[in-house]
């Protein structure tokens, strides 16, 4: 089971859109996928039409009241969702009374080991909190979602440093890949930023770049993945290609003994 943490401390860079559509694209390939909405704003749940905040949510899992298998909901798109909740924001306060609060999610996900091929964590915007620490600790791969807009490079480099610090605090080694999103090929600035990202991150970047897309925005508004709304849209094909890259990466990691495409130095060596 691979656990992906889609993260960036910058909001609006497409984390939730990628989480929803990547989950759907992986499911379309026959993979067993669990999407966990860790965002206190619960945008992934909203984007999948699961705005029922009265039911159990990830907040209950984090407070150790419910098993994650009881919270996961089957969706008509071939994958399951652990919905988010506004109460997730209270986790930081509750954590003061917990032992090992940064390991709650990791322990919870152990229950679904073997049930899913992929667990996708849609991380909150705040990257220095306990939720992010839980995600980093639980993740086998951190996917840094970077918008190809102004200050993207600086933001990405700072995010990288932030995750290095988080990894150091978590006392574990983590792997990082970079996904460029919201790319508008008609804008020269976006093209230049993509070239800059390529120069900076190189092989750690996915070959697939997610373009800015009205269809993707509409799909979120309709509460469904984009490949359910418009399978032939360019962005749907891009998410399919991204899912293929993840599967290829997984095969590669398993074949090479978890060789990561881009490994951060061990925190002790940082």
């Amino acid at each position: 089971m691979q656990t992906l943490a889609l993260a960036n401390q910058k909001g609006g860079c497409g984390k939730t859109t990628v989480a929803i559509n990547l989950a759907s694209a992986l499911a379309a390939r026959g993979e067993r996928v669990l999407l966990v909405d860790l965002d206190p704003q619960a945008h992934a749940s909203l984007g999948l039409g699961q705005a029922d905040f009265a039911g159990s949510s990830i907040a209950d899992v984090l407070s150790r009241e419910v098993s994650i298998t009881r919270v996961a909901r089957k969706l008509p798109y071939g994958f399951q969702l652990v919905p988010g909740s506004l109460r997730v924001g209270e986790f930081e306060e509750e954590a003061a009374r917990m032992l090992g609060p940064e390991r709650v999610l990791e322990n919870a996900l152990m229950e679904v080991e073997g049930l899913f091929d992929w667990v996708i964590l849609d991380c909150p915007t705040r990257a220095d909190g306990l939720l992010a620490a839980n995600a980093i600790r639980a993740a086998s791969l951190v996917v840094l979602v970077v918008e190809t807009g102004a200050f993207a490079l600086q933001g990405a480099v700072r995010a990288q440093q932030l995750f290095i610090d988080l990894a150091r605090e978590c006392e574990r080694e983590i792997d990082l890949c970079v996904l460029a999103t919201l790319f508008d090929p008609t804008r020269s600035l976006a093209r230049e930023i993509l070239i800059g990202m390529h120069a900076r991150f190189g092989d750690a970047m996915f070959d697939t770049v997610i373009h800015v897309s009205d269809v993707a925005r509409e799909a979120i508004a309709y509460g469904m993945p984009v490949d359910a709304l418009s399978p032939s849209a360019l962005v749907s094909r891009q998410f399919a290609a991204l899912a293929a890259e993840f599967c290829e990466l997984d095969d590669q990691r398993q074949g090479e003994g978890a060789a990561a495409p881009f490994s951060w130095p061990h925190p002790e060596k940082v």
Partner: protein
Amino acid sequence: MDTLALLCNLHADGPETLQRLRSAGWDTLREIQAVDVLELERVLDADRGRAVRFQREAGILRDRLGGDHEPPVATNERESAVRQEASVSATESAPPARARALRSSADASPAPSPESGVRKPFAAARLSARESLPVNRFVTTTTVGELEDVNELALAHDRHAGADSELELPARDLLIPRPATASTPTLPVSPEPPSPEWQEAEEVRSSRAELTEIEPNEIEPNEIEPNVIDGIDSEGSRLLAEAGVTSLAELAEAPALELASATGLEYTNLLRLQFLARRAQSSAPRETSPKVQRSEHKDASNASGDVAGPFA
């Protein structure tokens, strides 16, 4: 992401074109450049124009990245490579638009004079306007290792900003405009006689200089004139001069990242100053209306290929 994937994302639809190219056995930009256009046309399932343009963009991207597998080269290396390429390919007919701009600018750039006695670390960075885009400079003039220092740059800026607040900048230099001098030949010099307000301000300035026993001409000729563009005060001018940037042309063409590191100026502020410097250099005659200027600029940008990729 390899360079071929980058090309496909920049100038095509991304994964599908990439898959087509890889299925055809092409994995590098060099191979795309070398392939026959008819074959490329067939593989891409595109018309001749698109195939030609895609091939041309592959060459341009390869030039910018310094080869398929090479890291971005430093400015001096890059310029020498461009010079060499320009001399080799001087007989070629109709080179690609952006590459032509690079070559022509490289040919037109004078060699830095060692006799000047002024340190000019960025004088060799004679890049075209296209190349002098912020991120272009980020890519072409720095190595990956240098890019690691972005955070340090930000910290340096923070320290510098903190120091600025404690400095007492000479206010008269900020408030009183000065006419352009010979050291700033790129700026349009107004032929009109000085206005009464200007004369009055000049009198006040000279009287204050006498009172405070400050040299009236404390700005050395080898500095950018303060306030010649918005955001460059005397302190900024001094910092730039210390880094070897003594004219707007040099400011416009200097690699921003290195310049920010050398001067302590904020990187983003420096990008803005470079934009203003380029605009000041390329400013059209005053009789041309702004509306016409905008339309000309739009036409020029379209002519230089600044449009969507062929398969986007």
